[in-house]
């Protein structure tokens, strides 16, 4: 099994009058675990299906190891896919399901038996081989789908929200296992998810999709700590970043009628911006922006505080400090080094 490099260039896909993908460019390195992250309807699944050959792009090229595979049939691409619904063949046993991709290319029976056993062992379902998919639990079905995908040792592994049908606990366990499996097999994986926690924890790199475009590509750290646009900033993080309209002037920002001094931003001159700040970088302080506490939500060690600043809602994640009373008036401080500044008009990071 050799990991493949994949690249998409200028992929456009239209469904009637709707443009589902508007010029997607992506490069995935061999052996990389690459996620396509975005809200539903952002085009990530369509991108995956174009990679698989299940849909044809209206424009652009798909390359695998440098070779143009844009118009190649799905079966000719050396890719395996795990579907969100798993798409197990209900009339076949687990063994027959896993054996199916090998049977289709005329592998000898002996070899099939061996490979099926090996793939099943990798995902620990050896004991379920004689069952039908309907007799398996959700987690077991998911493993069966994984085994069917890995049994043929594909060069590229496509996963379409494979964990979304599992319960929360199993999802986290399977996540770890998925990553280990990908590493052990040394296969390139493209993973579609709308769950940022999954994308951030699994990926070597990820692409953030918004409205049929890729708005940012980078490592999870990069994307999380330096969102390229205000949309990405508003999408990532749980809860996501607070976004406050502000006017920047000579190193000072006017936020909801209050002035805060931000000398580090004096180079940006005079302009309308959106300030982004993660809830964890908001503090209650003696000085700063006046705010009203609307709600306090305890979460074990931490607690979230909803504050109204002018007309904006600001969420703060506080730890260990004294819990402010609801409806009390406080002042908040935004940690200057944790501030993200986006152009108001273009939404781009400054």
């Amino acid at each position: 099994m050799s990991a493949a490099s994949v690249s998409l260039a200028g992929i456009v896909k239209r469904h009637g009058a709707v443009t589902a993908l508007d010029g997607i460019d992506l490069d995935v390195a061999p052996g990389e675990f690459f996620s396509l992250l975005g809200p539903s309807g952002s085009g990530k699944t369509t991108t995956l299906r174009i990679l698989a050959g299940l849909e044809q792009a209206d424009a652009g090229t798909v390359r695998m190891n440098g070779k143009d595979i844009t118009s190649l049939e799905p079966g000719a691409r050396d890719v395996a896919m795990v579907f969100q619904s798993y798409a197990l063949y209900p009339h076949m046993t687990v063994r027959e399901n896993i054996a199916f991709p090998l049977r289709m290319v005329g592998v000898s029976n002996e070899e099939i038996t061996h490979s099926v056993q090996e793939a099943a062992a990798r995902v620990r379902i050896e004991h379920l081989l004689e069952r039908k998919p309907g007799q398996l639990s959700g987690g077991q079905q998911q493993r069966c789908a994984l085994a069917r995908a890995i049994v043929r040792k594909p060069a590229l592994f496509l996963l379409d929200e494979p964990l979304s049908n599992l319960d929360a606990k199993l999802r986290v366990e399977t996540r770890v296992e998925l990553k280990r499996l990908q590493r052990a097999l040394n296969v390139t994986a493209v993973y579609v998810t709308h769950d940022q926690e999954e994308a951030l924890s699994l990926s070597d790199r990820l692409a953030v999709f918004m409205d049929g475009r890729v708005v940012q590509v980078g490592t999870p750290e990069e994307v999380f700590s330096r969102p390229a646009t205000v949309e990405v900033a508003g999408f990532l993080g749980n809860p996501p970043m607070n976004l406050l309209p502000a006017r920047l002037e000579d190193g000072r920002a006017t936020v909801e009628g209050s002035l805060i001094s931000l000398p580090s931003l004096s180079g940006l001159g005079r302009r309308e911006v959106t300030l982004g700040i993660r809830p964890s970088a908001v503090r209650i302080a003696a000085q700063g922006l006046p705010a009203t506490v609307t709600m306090c939500e305890a979460l074990g060690e931490d607690f979230f505080v909803d504050l109204i600043v002018g007309e904006c809602l600001v969420r703060a994640k506080l730890r260990g400090e004294e819990r402010p009373a609801e409806r009390s008036r406080v002042r908040i401080e935004l940690e200057p080094r944790a501030l993200h500044v986006f152009d108001r008009e273009t939404g781009l990071r400054l």
Partner: protein, 274 residues
């Protein structure tokens, strides 16, 4: 209370349905004299003479059973051969006018058969195919195919698209995806369709009597021959009816489970084709 009502209604319906069959069964084991006795005899000595006549007598219906089997078997086989790929295509492929095609396939069923008998007769005569198996089978196909396609489409549409997408990625190709993945899952629907098509052609009378002539006499036509101007041979007619019904009942019993599902599915999905 509800159970009681349900029971009464069920029994009433059963009586209505079963009565003619039972009457036929009783008649088939009566002598001609007992059949015509008035008031009808309840107690009589059963006889197998009608069955003996029907099988071995001068008016044996065995050749007619063979004819029926050939016509129905050929019709069913050909229908399935064409209907499965057609229905699959209608259910799955992004063809232009797909929806319109689906509708017009069904619309052909709206023509009253009796209005078609004469045109078909003229067409077959010109082709020299009156009184032939191929002629009758061809005509049956024109009814069976649209019906089978329409029924099968709803079954194919029930199967998630991801099934064949997975099969395509597993390097099966379209045809093998159909054969290994889709058809086994549509087995129930195919069984229902097959049985309906077979039964429809087995029970068909009008076209058989007009187009089959003297060479191709199906069992329904043969039964008709027990009714003549001078006399109706009730005993033999009933015996022939019982024999002709046997395959229908056997098939019905085998497919009972599928048929109930098939009828309701057709009912729900028929109008709602995407």
């Amino acid at each position: 209370m509800r159970r009681a009502v349900l029971l009464v209604v069920s029994v009433a319906m059963l009586v209505v349905w079963v009565f003619p069959v039972l009457w036929g069964l009783v008649t088939s084991v009566k002598t001609e004299r007992d059949v015509l006795a008035y008031p009808p005899t309840i107690v009589f000595e059963p006889t197998a003479v009608n069955y003996h006549d029907v099988f071995f007598g001068g008016a044996s219906i065995v050749p007619n059973l063979v004819s029926s089997l050939v016509v129905s078997g050929l019709t069913t086989a050909l229908t399935m051969l064409f209907a499965i790929p057609a229905a699959y295509a209608l259910a799955r492929l992004d063809l232009p006018f797909r929806r319109a095609t689906g509708f017009w396939v069904l619309a052909t069923q709206m023509l009253p058969p009796v209005g078609l008998v004469i045109p078909y007769f003229l067409l077959l005569r010109r082709a020299g195919w009156t009184d032939t198996y191929q002629g009758l089978v061809l005509v049956y196909l024109t009814f069976a195919l649209p019906f089978a396609i329409w029924l099968l489409v709803s079954y194919f549409e029930e199967i998630p698209r991801e099934m064949e997408e997975a099969a395509l990625l597993d390097r099966a190709g379209r045809l093998r995806a159909l054969w290994y993945v889709i058809l086994p899952q549509a087995k129930g629907g195919i069984a229902v369709t097959l049985i309906f098509v077979f039964l429809n052609s087995w029970n068909e009378f009008l076209f058989a009597v007009v187009l089959g002539g003297n060479t191709v006499r199906t069992v329904t036509v043969a039964m008709f021959n027990f009714i003549s101007l001078e006399q109706t041979q009730w005993g033999r007619l009933a015996a022939a009816a019982m024999v002709g019904m046997a395959p229908v009942i056997v098939l019905g019993l085998i497919a009972q489970k599928h048929i109930v599902k098939g009828l309701t599915l057709g009912a729900v999905k028929g109008g709602g084709r995407r």
